[in-house]
């Protein structure tokens, strides 16, 4: 009894200290992690005069203004970037999800010759970085006449998204109890009915997670558009903001930061609303696969 109370007491003291250290570390980490985006926001709200004034605290805004946002949103080129990003991302997400859901269903449920090797191949292709492939793909896309075209991006982006999405969908489909599809088969369901009526509804969280992944990756893709696109009117946001706004001797920092923040907004908004799915997709690769 006494011993137990003692252990309990020391545990509690230890816990309290651990808690204090935990909160201090987390606070420090949050401040450091949020420093760059916050500073981007601060910069985007400053007037040019205030920015070039070297006196005083650069982390404060004295006369906030939305003029940079106005300028950037009134810039037709920036709106073109946005539209290109939306077009490429939406098409890539659709193509990716169709390919991976079909393939994952077949790989998870229909054993066939070479299915095991193919599943391993999917995982291996996920490990091939885009920077290893962009030079040969540059030649291939060029050969197809798709350089400087958003269609070239729609063609190559699936290499970034399909392997991982297929991989996590295999995991989600494999976790569905087999009794379910056996019952469906006895009732005379066809494979397509089984996929549409059972697997997709049951694995919906996985499908949402995979969709978020495909969306984030295509939106943030940088190597391929940098390599394949040099005409501004075909650029997606990432390379558009980096290459066309950052030009000339005097950088328009306010505009650059406003543009970068607006460009980062869609993935951040998706994350804010679907955080749990986002994290499930992130960790599924290693903990489920």
């Amino acid at each position: 009894m006494n011993l137990a109370a003692n252990i309990h007491g020391s545990l509690r003291a230890e816990r309290r200290w651990a808690l204090i250290i935990a909160y201090v570390s987390l606070c420090a980490a949050v401040v450091i992690f949020l420093l760059p985006p916050v500073y981007m926001l601060i910069t985007s709200l400053k007037t040019n005069a205030e920015m070039s004034n070297l006196q005083g605290n650069p982390w404060l805004v004295r006369s906030p203004t939305l003029e940079h946002y106005g300028t950037i949103l009134g810039n037709p080129l920036f709106l073109t970037f946005f539209w290109n990003s939306i077009k490429v991302t939406v098409l890539t997400v659709i193509v990716t999800m169709v390919i991976s859901v079909l393939a994952a269903f077949a790989l998870a449920r229909m054993r066939f010759w070479g299915s095991q090797a193919l599943a391993t191949g999917v995982f291996l292709t996920y490990l091939v970085p885009d920077t290893l492939l962009f030079i040969p793909l540059y030649q291939i896309v060029g050969g197809l006449g798709l350089l400087n075209s958003t269609w070239g991006l729609v063609l190559v982006y699936p290499t970034l998204t399909v392997p991982f999405c297929t991989w996590i969908m295999i995991g989600y489909f494999a976790s569905i109890p087999k009794e379910l599809d056996e019952a469906a088969l006895i009732d005379g369901a066809t494979w397509s009915q089984m996929l549409l009526k059972i697997f997709i509804p049951v694995a919906l969280p996985g499908i949402i997670a995979a969709t978020i992944f495909a969306f984030t990756v295509s939106w943030a893709a940088f190597v391929y558009p940098t390599a394949f696109i040099t005409t501004p009117d075909q650029m997606p946001l990432t390379i558009g903001v980096v290459s066309t706004l950052v030009r000339g001797d005097t950088f328009a920092w306010g505009q650059i930061m406003a543009g970068a923040l607006l460009a980062a907004l869609p993935p951040v908004v998706v994350y804010a609303f679907l955080m749990d799915y986002y994290i499930a997709g992130l960790t599924a690769g290693a903990t489920k696969g």
Partner: protein
């Protein structure tokens, strides 16, 4: 599954004649359907990953004008090139130090998050993952501006603590550290989230038993947490080694290889040589130099994942 299924289908409907032939037809149809369903995937893997990889090898054996076979010429030129060795060195330095820092910070933060009451975890986790959510090419712009020599807001903060101004991107060593810093900032949340998921899967009873046995917190970490997380730690570290080793955006936005080509990594150097200078074969050769290291990492990841699957099965 096929056996149990055929049993389930044939057993209750025994009287139906020709069940055997029907089942065989069903099996054959099934593998045809399965093949058709995986065909798009196979097209992507073969057409857009495997073929380009082989094509890269072919490209690297051509001469500069790409009209003649030149054997290993491109590789020989690179091996004799001083800048190339700087690239190799910088890539290794960048990948190893950044991954190490990310893993340690991620591990620490995951532990801290695991310690606080479950109710508050969601909020903290949400804020801490933000660096990973912003497209790195864009957040690096923010870092670039914080590093700016005349307006550096980082130096302003350092000045409060009486630290002299740091020439962030101007001097080779500081430029290297700046690049690593941004990568750590971007990647540490990923490690944190992976380790947190792993920590949550360690059964609580193990810790309780250890506490009753009088284990110190170090002993608990050493003998329970680390062994239980070993697999996830190695998979995450190896995966991050691949991604960091092949990183492009941060160096491209921050330094573009400068000052004096001293911060180039494989990807940015391959880009400079292959696309910007138009020497496709040489660029292909540069990026192929990444392959041996990546293959080793990939082999160990695959082994770790397979072992994990066996454990969970």
């Amino acid at each position: 599954m096929p056996d149990s299924m055929t049993a389930a289908v044939s057993a209750p409907r025994g009287p139906e004649s020709g069940a055997g032939g029907g089942l065989r037809r069903l099996a054959r149809r099934r593998s045809t359907i399965a093949f058709l369903m995986t065909l798009p995937l196979i097209c992507v893997i073969v057409g857009l990953v495997a073929y380009p990889a082989v094509y890269a090898v072919y490209l690297s054996t051509l001469n500069r004008r790409m009209d003649e076979f030149a054997g290993l010429l491109q590789f020989e030129i690179l091996v004799d090139n001083e800048t190339f060795w700087l690239v190799v060195w910088q890539s290794c330095l960048f990948a190893i130090s950044a991954v190490l820092a990310k893993a340690l910070i991620g591990f620490w933060l995951a532990h801290m998050l695991h310690h606080i009451p479950t109710k508050g975890q969601r909020k903290w986790r949400g804020m801490l993952l933000i660096p990973w959510v912003i497209p790195p090419a864009l957040s690096t712009l923010g870092w670039w501006w914080m590093y700016d020599p005349t307006y550096s807001s980082l130096n302003w903060i350092l000045a409060i603590f009486a630290v002299p101004a740091v020439p962030w991107l101007g001097e080779p060593w500081w430029a290297r550290i700046s690049v690593i810093l941004v990568n750590v900032w971007y990647g540490a949340p990923f490690f944190m989230i992976m380790y947190l998921a792993a920590l949550k899967s360690v059964p609580e009873q193990l810790y309780e038993a250890a506490a009753i046995d009088g284990a110190t917190s170090w002993q608990r970490l050493r003998h329970i947490t680390l062994p239980m997380m070993q697999n996830i730690i190695s998979i995450t570290v190896l995966f991050s080694l691949i991604v960091t080793f092949a990183n492009y955006d941060i160096v491209r936005v921050l330094t573009n290889g400068g000052p004096r080509d001293l911060t180039h990594v494989f990807a940015t150097y391959a880009f400079q040589v292959g696309i910007l200078s138009g020497n496709i074969p040489r660029g292909a050769a540069v990026s192929l130099f990444m392959l041996p290291a990546l293959a080793v990492f990939a082999y160990f990841i695959l082994r770790g994942v397979n072992r994990r699957n066996r454990e969970m099965a």
